[in-house]
């Protein structure tokens, strides 16, 4: 269906859908490990943007990326603005600057690559794909994909002064 028709769907408790190039996808409820990574990152971003109010990070908000694309990233960041300017609207009519997608146990890899391609095509600067099972983070943007492993620290140039060790994201204790 078209994005316009999707936007008119009645609100239903518990319904979680996305629209990709006019195709409806059902989003399943996340697992604890998935939400653990989301929570750690959101908490960290809250601290960062709280001190330096030059952006915002929210989870599960829907963005209208293209005419027939409606996606709700696990975490979306917008830089250099206050979120109140979007007036509590859904979908948010501008693309996030950074998208974080945490890999779900049963997600289909072809679907998630397709989403990443759409994000990048429609104005997202970076997509971080967080994989708990392999304890890696993949940074998708123009050019090669950067790969971070468990002992690395994620410190993106887009967020000056912010960084997080992958061990913290995946709540892995350092070996004694």
């Amino acid at each position: 269906m078209s994005g316009a028709a999707f936007d008119q769907l009645p609100y239903e408790e518990g319904r979680r859908l996305e629209l990709i190039e006019g195709e409806i996808l059902t989003v399943v409820r996340p697992t604890p490990n998935h939400q653990s990574a989301v929570t750690v990152l959101l908490g960290s971003f809250l601290g960062y943007f709280g001190v330096e109010p030059s952006g915002w990070a929210l989870s599960e908000c829907e963005f209208a990326l293209g005419e027939d694309d409606r996606l709700g990233p696990d975490v979306a960041l917008r830089l250099q603005e206050r979120w109140s300017i979007h007036e509590d609207r859904t979908p948010i009519p501008v693309p996030p600057d950074i998208v974080v997608e945490v890999v779900s146990p049963n997600e289909r890899t072809d679907d998630s690559l397709r989403k990443i391609q759409i994000y990048l095509k429609d104005g997202v600067q970076e997509v971080w794909r967080v994989s708990g099972v392999t304890q890696q983070v993949f940074i998708h943007r123009a050019g090669p994909i950067a790969v971070l492993e468990i002992n690395d620290i994620l410190s993106p140039p887009l967020l000056p002064g912010w960084e997080i060790p992958l061990r913290e994201t995946f709540r892995v204790k350092r070996q004694p």
Partner: protein, 182 residues
């Protein structure tokens, strides 16, 4: 969520062919391989055809579709296409399966049902075992991911050409491979 069936590589090797032909074994866990869709098979055919012509000229190795490789005690993988070069090609027993060494290049055409966690684990296994490159073809987004190491992933799209120092003189048009499945 259903619990995974586990077994050793040795037990997997003993399965009758009609049971194991649609299965892989990933670190002891059985993974079902879905029947290839026409799109999936056409992409493989286009790639196989290109590689076959290359090796007819170069004669320095070969490409084999859909054959099983053994990785250690508990992993048996069947890449859609495997490239073996030089000595690996020459020494592979043509009548025996699984092949007990890593391919030089492993090619996977991603099925609609393939899970991210499985495809990422497979890449890790191939690379750790000595496979020099893994190529993943994604039909929905018409992208190819080329892995040359745990930290080296290059995405290619329809405008790009796939070439590698492992196959000097070979150039595969990404667009052509995906268009073959139209």
């Amino acid at each position: 969520m259903a619990t995974a069936t586990t077994m050793s590589g040795a037990a997997f090797d003993q399965l009758p062919n009609e049971e194991s032909r649609d299965l892989e074994l990933l670190q002891g866990e059985l993974i079902e391989m879905p029947t290839g869709t026409p799109e999936h098979q056409l992409i493989i055919l286009a790639l196989a055809s290109s590689l076959y012509q290359y090796f007819r000229r170069e004669r320095s190795g070969g490409a084999i579709p859909d054959v099983e490789f053994a990785f250690g005690e508990d992993t048996r993988l069947r890449p859609d296409m495997a490239v073996l070069l030089g000595e690996r090609w020459d020494s592979t027993n043509r009548k025996q399966t699984p092949i007990p060494l890593a391919p030089d290049i492993a090619v996977e055409v991603i099925s609609p049902s393939e899970r991210t966690v499985d495809s990422q684990r497979k890449v890790g296994i191939y690379l750790a075992a000595g496979t020099k490159e893994v190529w993943q073809f994604y039909p929905e987004s018409r992208q190819v991911l080329v892995y040359k190491g745990a930290k080296s992933i290059t995405p290619l799209d329809a405008e790009d050409t796939l070439s590698t120092p492992l196959l000097p003189g070979s150039e595969v048009s990404v667009l052509e491979i995906f268009e073959a499945s139209n």
